[in-house]
């Protein structure tokens, strides 16, 4: 791969010439999609960067980037990197103290924020951030009375850049030259992991990590400058960084920023991206919305929908995989595409999708197949921040809902005796920032990285992930207890939003359930079930009945696999409140913090392993404005009849 350029800003310079008139970025503002070509972006970034340097930004400085997906924040990355300084994107919705830890640890000198909300958050913790000198912002609303020395508009920084450029004729040439001098192995960005376990760690990635991985990924899916993608996931997340920034720089494709986080669905429909990423949660949510609105549709429409979905179920995936299909069915599928799938895909904003990925969690096989049967090339990948995303991905046509695909180009994979998955690739991170101990724990001397996930490679060479290596436990009976495996099976039901399974070192498996409010509320309305609050709905006996049915189905699934029969769910309860990141129960990427939940709901867990049928619990909660309060509830506990293992059933019949 000798034809690679030496740094990400170098790719920007290349694009300003090679793709000068092609759209680089779109943003919907005041109801209109505004566009910037690569040449215009190059200009914006140059002014930003030179202005930033005149504020004192120098080599090695760390700069926080806080906010949602906005063009100016994306431009901040190359603007900072051109000065050989290091951008540190931070999760915008993290509370002040979480943010303080990261900014203090990274020692940021500047911060680039989206709006007043983030500026205020930073100002509230600036006493703890001695290195922080100035805060730049994008939107000026509400920021009139702030100290102009300390809180500076990005447009003003760019105007400073203009001044410097008009004064000093050589500055642009020098700026271009300094980009040429950036090194392939220089530190390029620090991405803090969301901290499923313990404090966030700063993953240092070099230009080489990101450039080689992105080049491989673009080649793998044949992505070029004609792609369109929508940037709506957190800037601080490695996935967005790679999909919306580095891969776009290398391929030259357009990135579209939605109007606001609430309008993503509508905006996606307007843009119709060709390359699309979403965590399973999004696909699940969309499917729930479709199903709910189909329930409300007229009889003819509903009948047609269900009929053609059955047709798609039969042949859709085979057509997508280019397998041979009966010509009549193929024609009938075409009709379905015209009547149902096409309009539906248009609604979802997926009518032009060439490649769609999901990752981060397991996706329900039914959900996965549903999208594929509509003709959407949805695939799974497996990745980590430490790998610059890609570890494995499913090649076109080799799709199995239960696997995460074959090793991505340039990635070596091996399975430890303990079952843990290890990899080595050009994307392997430089190390954790200021944390050599953690680096040594994760990365071996010869470059192999521990993923922390247990899995195995199947006969077709595809990787299957079972669970977090350290989470797989043992029941007292000696049977295996993979909590996530069980939880995911539960979460595939639209009524269940979240589940937490217990069983390690216990006699049997039991679970906490969080209902999905959208789905269950709709069902309640349809069935004349009256409720006044989330808590009341969650505790409703009829809701318990529904959930019990789901639990039974999961048990049937489990009993079908000999080694899982012991992991059937014996008892469950429906939690009286939604697990929430503000209360520390979920990470910012919405994964359950197991240890924390264990401690917080200790009484409920004890009750699950007694013969109680209800348990009182009092929980402290944090409201959005930061105040705290208490929720008291008596939570009912339900026991489920257990199916006998399949072998005994056979003997009986």
């Amino acid at each position: 791969m000798s034809d690679l350029l030496g740094s990400l800003p170098a790719y920007l310079l290349r694009n300003t010439e090679q793709f000068a008139d092609r759209v680089s970025m779109r943003h919907k503002d005041l109801g209109i999609w505004r566009e910037w070509t690569w040449a215009e972006v190059g200009d914006e970034v140059r002014r930003f960067s030179i202005g930033f340097a005149s504020l004192g930004l120098k080599q090695g400085d760390k700069v926080a980037i806080v906010g949602s997906n906005r063009p100016k924040l994306y431009w901040a990355f190359p603007a900072i990197q051109s000065c050989n300084a290091v951008p540190v994107p931070v999760y915008a919705d993290s509370v002040a103290e979480e943010m303080q830890y990261v900014l203090e640890h990274a020692g940021v000198r500047f911060a680039v924020c989206q709006d007043q909300e983030q500026v205020d958050k930073l100002l509230s913790i600036q006493d703890q951030l001695p290195a922080l000198e100035a805060i730049l912002y994008d939107e000026d609303r509400g920021l009139k009375g702030y100290d102009p020395e300390q809180v500076i508009a990005i447009t003003r920084v760019q105007a400073l850049g203009d001044e410097v450029i008009s004064r000093d004729k050589d500055i642009v040439a020098r700026w271009n030259q300094s980009i040429g001098e950036l090194g392939m192995d220089d530190l390029c960005v620090i991405l803090y992991t969301s901290g499923t376990t313990g404090r966030p760690k700063g993953v240092m990635l070099s230009n080489r990590n990101l450039i080689e991985t992105s080049a491989n990924a673009n080649a793998f899916d044949k992505l070029d400058h004609t792609e369109e993608t929508i940037a709506y996931l957190p800037l601080a997340w490695v996935g967005d960084h790679v999909f919306s920034y580095t891969q776009s720089l290398l391929a030259g494709y357009s990135v579209c920023c939605p109007e606001s986080p609430d309008t993503v669905t509508v905006n996606r429909r307007e843009i119709a991206p060709t390359y699309f990423f979403a965590p399973p949660r999004v696909f699940e949510g969309l499917l729930t919305t479709i199903m709910v609105s189909m329930e409300d549709a007229g009889r003819i429409k509903r009948g047609m929908f269900h009929h053609f979905i059955r047709v798609a179920n039969k042949v859709g995936e085979r057509i997508l995989n280019a397998e041979s299909v009966n010509p009549f069915m193929r024609a009938y599928y075409k009709l379905g595409d015209w009547l149902v799938y096409g309009p539906l895909k248009n609604r979802l904003g997926m009518s032009k999708v060439r490649v769609a990925y999901t990752a981060g969690e397991a996706i329900g096989p039914d959900i996965f197949r549903f999208y594929r049967s509509l003709g959407i090339n949805l695939k799974q990948l497996y990745g980590q921040t430490e790998a610059s995303v890609y570890i494995t991905a499913q090649p076109d046509g080799q799709i199995d809902a239960n696997t995460v695909g074959t090793p991505s180009p340039g990635v070596e994979l091996r399975i430890e005796d303990s079952g843990e998955v290890m990899y080595r690739s050009p994307g392997v991170f430089m190390g954790y920032y200021k944390n050599d101990l953690a680096t040594a724990d994760t990365k071996t001397n010869d470059g192999w990285v521990h993923t922390g996930d247990a899995g195995y490679i199947d006969d077709a060479g595809h990787l299957r992930i079972i669970d977090r290596a350290k989470d797989v436990g043992k029941l007292n009976s000696g049977g295996m207890f993979p909590p996530k495996y069980i939880e995911n099976k539960l979460k595939f039901f639209p009524n269940i939003k979240e589940a937490v399974a217990f069983g390690d070192g216990r006699d049997y498996v039991s679970v906490f359930i969080n209902i999905d409010l959208t789905s269950v509320a709709n069902w309640a309305e349809r069935n004349n079930i009256v409720y006044g609050s989330y808590q009341e709905l969650a505790g409703h006996p009829e809701v318990y009945q529904q959930i019990e049915q789901h639990v039974r189905q999961v048990n049937q699934d489990l009993v079908a696999e000999p080694q899982m029969a012991g992991a059937q769910i014996h008892r469950f309860l429906v939690l009286h409140k939604e697990l929430d990141a503000d209360d520390g129960e979920l990470t910012r990427t919405l994964k359950v913090r197991r240890k924390f939940v264990n401690e917080r709901y200790n009484v409920l867990i004890d009750a699950l392993y007694s013969d109680k049928t209800e348990q009182f619990v009092s929980t402290e909660v944090v409201f959005e404005d930061g105040r705290t309060g208490k929720i008291d509830a008596t939570v009912a506990i339900q026991t489920v009849d257990i199916d006998e293992p399949a072998t005994e059933l056979r003997q009986a019949s």
């Binding site: 109801g31 209109i32 109007e259 509508v266």
Partner: protein, 264 residues
């Protein structure tokens, strides 16, 4: 809070002098005088039936006081209709949401621009030339309001199906669309939960500080009033019992007796 306190040097934007309004034998408002300074947030508070909404109705020309004078921008105001008041720069929202339920958020706010439209219906229907440019201009203004109130996600939704808190926000948007000199808000936070109230308070404050709009509001939530208002006038049984800054009003024994009640 805006820096404009009762600025004695400048003539008030609106002043009411010895205003009395009665319905038959019932005196809704008796002999009340107070003024609203340009750029301030003025709150009108009082127990139920104190005459607060009547007061707003007098200000925007819906009721006509039997006695007293109303001075608007230094000129005594004659008997007028609400649409005259609207044309002269007074906009309002209502205690019960009064939107066009079957229309979208965008159209509702757009309707607030109707007084500013210059071309007649005929040209607007043809949608060509100047009428078209005019619509684009109005749309831009409306989009700025949508952005300000953060309601982009419901731009095309029918308002009748929106939650109450959002409907209130759309109503505020429609009033803003008139670019009023004086905005009358009749219980903007009624029936809202804490979070919605906080959002609405933020919008009212920003509206005042960013656009310089003068605001007169009626509100029951004392916490909100004390945080938002520059000056407060307190009514009880149609009479004015106090007038001053939130702190002054809170200290007044008469107000405590009449309205704030004994602490519990």
């Amino acid at each position: 809070m805006s820096s404009v306190q009762a600025d004695e040097g400048k003539p008030p934007l609106l002043s009411l002098d010895n205003v009395t309004l009665s319905f038959g034998g019932v005196k809704a408002i008796s002999d009340i005088s107070f003024n609203i300074q340009e750029g301030e947030i003025r709150a009108i508070i009082g127990p139920n039936g104190a005459g607060k909404t009547s007061m707003l109705n007098v200000i925007n020309g819906f009721y006509h006081p039997q006695q007293g004078t109303i001075t608007w921008r230094g000129k005594p105001r004659r008997r007028m209709k609400p649409y005259h008041a609207a044309a002269s720069g007074i906009a309002r929202t209502f205690q019960n949401v009064a939107l066009f339920k079957g229309m979208s958020t965008l159209d509702n706010i757009m309707s607030g621009r109707s007084l500013k439209m210059k071309r007649g219906m005929f040209w607007q229907m043809l949608h060509v030339g100047p009428a078209r440019n005019e619509e684009i201009e109005h749309r831009q203004h409306v989009e700025r309001i949508i952005d300000f109130l953060e309601i982009a996600s419901i731009r095309k939704q029918v308002v009748g199906r929106l939650p109450y808190g959002l409907q209130k926000r759309v109503e505020l948007g429609r009033a803003m669309a008139m670019e009023p000199d004086l905005l009358l808000l009749d219980e903007p936070m009624a029936g809202m939960n804490l979070e919605e109230k906080e959002d609405m308070s933020r919008f009212v404050l920003d509206l005042n500080s960013e656009f310089g709009t003068t605001i007169a509001l009626i509100e029951h939530d004392m916490g909100v009033v004390m945080d938002l208002a520059d000056r407060v006038v307190v009514l009880d049984y149609g009479k004015k019992i106090a007038d001053g800054t939130p702190a002054e009003v809170q200290a007044s024994q008469e107000v405590i007796d009449a309205y704030l009640g004994v602490s519990h």
